[in-house]
Point group: C2
Chain length 230, copies 2
């Protein structure tokens, strides 16, 4: 059975990407990255998702991106709330070179477990201006994986899959629901007020909530507040 | 003053690369990676080298590559000793995707501090078969840095410099000596027996010792054993 190494953040997108890889016939090895994110509950969400999807090998790699800083997700910068315009400029929640770091770690894991396929739940709309979710970035990274590994030298053809790249949030939710993802286990919020509650007001919460509404699928999430209510 | 972000491992090569960047007129920001390596004294060596070179901003990012494993440097695999043939096959000291991970972290730091130039002490001979030291890998990585960062989107032209790439170990030592590097502060050994003593028998020690001999420069290192003496 062909293996795929999948980035599993604990959010809605990566859970769907992991289910997509299983649906495509891959034996999935999952990697979560503990990067000093404020929203640490997402690591617990990743564990729950991995268990639900019966992923046997789920690794958590710690990398302290706080030593680099530069983002609302890792430094002492406020997470923006109630933004009406999502998209366009790169937001402060952008973590410098995050997906490059994550894909690099995923490449290392893929090499160790003999996986040729890397899967990331990157999405053009959701990531609202993050440069490291663009198709040209992902293609360039596949070349780095091929050239920078022993497996690549020995002929392994690495592929980077981003199956959600062009989907709307509603489209992702419909796909995942069809694949049996339990979205009640996932956490999207950048600034969760505690437990598995979503703040309801950061970009990620707003996109999540609107996605369930548009998909016409019941939203299992608990939101602390309605957007713009404060 | 133009800034460069430099990977500083604490070894002979990266110390020389940092001094090269200063000699080329860059304000150097240094990054060391605590990746769970067995040879942890190299982090202390990096601090000493940074102090000697008067690098004001030296950061240490922890990333636990032991969760990935697959190398003699991070897993419970013996470091090879007394190899007469260095080069050819990828050795067990190869850390899966290590330079990809390191350059990814360096890219994040470069973005935060406004550095356009990434410097790595990669060397074709020294790394004895490591795929992620090859020129084509480094070129592909520069493209990833450009495409995967906000700075790249905004027009920053990233360059990846590997000034030692084609030098012999003796050539590196001559270059660094001319630039004022104090090699007594550096540590190359993969398996140091303690303190700042070199084992004298791993690939890195053998190359280091031979390099000083060939350069005709006094070797300031302490070696525990002569190669092949056991």
């Amino acid at each position: 059975m062909k293996r795929a190494a999948v980035l599993l953040s604990g959010g809605l997108d990566s859970a769907t990407a992991a289910a997509w890889a299983q649906g495509a016939g891959f034996d999935v090895i999952a990697l979560s990255v503990d990067y000093g994110q404020r929203h640490r509950q997402e690591l617990e969400a990743a564990r729950r998702v991995a268990a639900q999807l019966r992923i046997q090998d789920h690794r958590v790699v710690a990398v302290d991106l706080r030593a680099i800083g530069g983002s609302a997700l890792t430094a002492d910068i406020a997470v923006p709330k109630d933004r009406n315009e999502i998209g366009g400029d790169v937001p402060v929640t952008y973590v410098p070179a995050r997906n490059t770091v994550f894909l690099a770690l995923l490449t290392g894991l893929a090499e160790v477990v003999g996986a040729s396929d890397l899967v990331i739940g990157a999405n053009v709309q959701d990531y609202s201006g993050y440069p490291d979710c663009r198709p040209e970035f992902l293609r360039a990274f596949a070349e780095v994986a091929r050239l920078g590994t022993r497996a690549g030298i020995e002929g392994m053809r690495f592929a980077v899959h981003a199956p959600l790249l062009q989907l709307s949030k509603a489209g992702i939710i419909r796909l995942g629901a069809a694949l049996g993802v339990d979205y009640g286990l996932t956490l999207s919020c950048y600034d969760p007020p505690g437990g598995f509650v979503h703040c309801g007001r950061c970009d990620a919460c707003r996109l999540r909530r609107a996605g369930f509404a548009e998909a016409g699928i019941a939203d299992p999430s608990t939101y602390a507040e309605t957007p713009g209510a404060s």
